[in-house]
Every structure is written in C-alpha cells, then in structure tokens.
C-alpha cells in the first residue's frame, strides 16, 4: 500500500479506535489513520479530501448514519467504489455479512480483532493495491 494513502476508520467507540490504532502500529503500517465517528462524517471526508483513502475500516453500528447506510451511499459514487472496505463488527449474523458483501466490501472481521487475521487482511489488500495501482 502506498504510504501516502490514508486509512479511514469509521468507528464511534473510543476503545475500538484505540484497538485499531494499536493494531496498525504493531503491524508497522505508516499510513495516516483518519478517524470519523459515523457514516455522515465519513462521507463528508470523502467529498472534501484531495486524495481518497487507500482503505476504509468500517463499523456497522454507529449513530446518525450506520455502516450499511454508508455503504449504500458509497455505491452511488463510482470513484468511491474502488476503495477497499473492511467491516469491523461484533455481528456474527450471516445476513449482515451477506448484506455487506453484496454492498461491495472486501473483508468482514468480527471484534475483538484477531491480530493474525487483521494482518492477513491488510497484507491481502496491500497486494491488491500494488497490483491495481496503475488503474487506481
């Protein structure tokens, strides 16, 4: 993943934000992490940023605009659709999982985050990024 690309984390819970920050630090990921507390703030960031983030970590259960609503909005913009999105959620519901995959996510992780799984997920996305860098 290009170091200049930001990672966007949409998460309203401070404890979960700290956990993801820590995981990213442990994995020596140097990309800047931008944290927004809900889908509305996330969309606002995407509309106004000069460069789209290279990866979005998305919580589902958030106030104002939840993760599902955020994904539905994202689908309306072709450029945003190219950003890999990993859902971080407590929901083990298969319907939630299926629903979010249908909305175009790249990964689904159940909290608490397993660091091995988190690492593999990030590496896979990084490889995808390097592969598709020219078209991105």
């Amino acid at each position: 993943m290009l170091a200049s690309k930001k990672i966007l984390l949409l998460e309203d819970d401070i404890v979960d934000v700290m956990t993801v920050k820590r995981a990213i630090k442990q994995l020596n990921i140097v990309n800047e992490l931008v944290v927004k507390e809900n889908g509305e703030e996330g969309l606002e960031f995407l509309r106004n940023t000069a460069e789209l983030p290279g990866l979005i970590f998305l919580d589902i259960n958030m106030p104002k605009m939840n993760g599902i609503e955020f994904l539905q909005e994202l689908k309306k913009n072709e450029e945003w659709l190219q950003i890999p999105i990993v859902v971080l959620t407590t929901s083990k519901d298969q319907q939630d999982k299926l629903h979010t995959f249908k909305l175009g996510i790249s990964g689904y992780m159940i909290k608490p985050i397993s660091y091995e799984l988190f690492k593999e997920m990030v590496v896979t996305i990084k490889n995808y990024w390097n592969f598709s860098e020219h078209s991105y």
Binding site: I14, V15, M18, R22, A23, Q26, T90, K111, P112
Partner: protein, 208 residues
C-alpha cells in the same frame, strides 16, 4: 470440629479473612449478623435444622449453607469447602481477564495504562447510560451495545449484555428477567471499575 479445621485450613490462603465460629443456634441468635461479611452455616446444627436456620438467615446476603449430602432443590454447597468457594463468597474472583490488553500492549506499559484509564472513564458513563435508558428499550439496546467494547477489551463476560440487547428487541419482554440482568450488569461493571482502579494504581506504581 473436623469441619471447622477444614475451613480454617482453606482460609489460610486468605490473609484478610478473620474467622469467628458459632456452634449453636442459641449463640447465633445473640449475634448481630450484619457485622459479618459472609456467613457459612452447616445446614444442621445441634439445636436447629435447616428450615429453622434458613428462616433466621435466609434473607441475608452472603449466607451460604453447607452440607455433607445436600438438600434437593436448595443451593447448598457440599463439603468439603474449597478455596474457590471462598473466593466466590467474597467475590474475590476477578471479573476481568486482561489477556487481550496485555497481548495488545506487548509490554508497553504506557499503552496498558492508557487503555485502563480509557476503560475507567468509559465504564461509569456506560453504566449511567444504561440506568437512564431503563424506560426505553431502544436506548437500552444501544447502551448495552456501546458497553460491550469496554467489556471486550477488559475480558469481562458480556453474556448478560448480549441478552439485554436481544431482549430489548422484544416489545413485550419479561421485565423481571430484564431487571435481573441489568442488576447483574451493574454489579459486574461496578466490580470491574473497582478492579480497574486498583490495577491502574499498581501499573502506574510499577512503571515509576
């Protein structure tokens, strides 16, 4: 006498517990039971049977009856009493498991302290939120959900929170069951806050 010796042996593992022995119901009646943090009573004394003893002490918190054979349908411990029994009675057993935080921290004391401080700040807020949300199932569901992340990182069993979340989705849920779950969550959260305070002090002391 054998039973008393057995209990004394188990209590040797607990520095802070002082044992007072009362052998008859007659003596028991002369005691102010509120002076005692916990009461362990044989289900049969020479001058009183289980029914009589239960009538006298059954309504008190932290009373535990013990018996050699048990009584069907009654929450009686079987002898001999072990260390785990005493821990349960005095709630010495930690409600937390810090493996997750420690695994995250990888020896980074500052991070551990930061995480403990955050949990200490969040948990009372969440507790307050749940208490205020009792009249609205929708708010209660949200408050229970929001509490789970702190429970998760502190390794606290979140079964009761999950159940509250599920029950909050039912319009005509069993209020008595819901209140019992909330009471258990309040107790666990309060105990976790107290444990975190102690933990924070020891971590800061260790770091310095």
């Amino acid at each position: 006498m054998v039973d008393i010796l057995a209990i004394k042996r188990v209590l040797k593992s607990f520095e802070d517990i002082a044992l007072f022995v009362c052998s008859t119901f007659n003596d028991l009646q002369n005691l102010d039971l509120s002076d005692y943090d916990a009461i362990i009573s044989d289900s049969n004394l020479a001058d009183a049977d289980y029914i009589k003893l239960k009538r006298h002490m059954g309504g008190l918190a932290n009373v535990q009856f013990v018996s050699g054979s048990g009584i069907a349908g009654e929450p009686i411990w079987l002898k001999p009493i072990n260390k785990e029994n005493i821990e349960t009675l005095f709630c010495f057993r930690s409600v937390m498991d810090l493996d997750y935080i420690e695994n995250l921290a990888q020896g980074d004391a500052d991070f551990e302290i930061d995480m403990i401080e955050t949990a200490l700040r969040i948990l009372p807020e969440r507790l307050d939120e749940m208490k205020k949300s009792i009249e609205s199932l929708k708010d209660l569901k949200l408050a229970a959900h929001r509490t789970k992340s702190s429970y998760r990182v502190c390794g606290i069993d979140a079964t009761a929170l999950n159940e509250v979340e599920e029950m909050s989705e039912i319009d005509f849920c069993n209020k008595v069951q819901l209140e019992a779950l909330l009471k258990s969550i309040y107790t666990t959260t309060t105990k976790a806050i107290s444990e975190l305070e102690t933990l924070l002090l020891s971590r800061v002391k260790k770091k310095n």
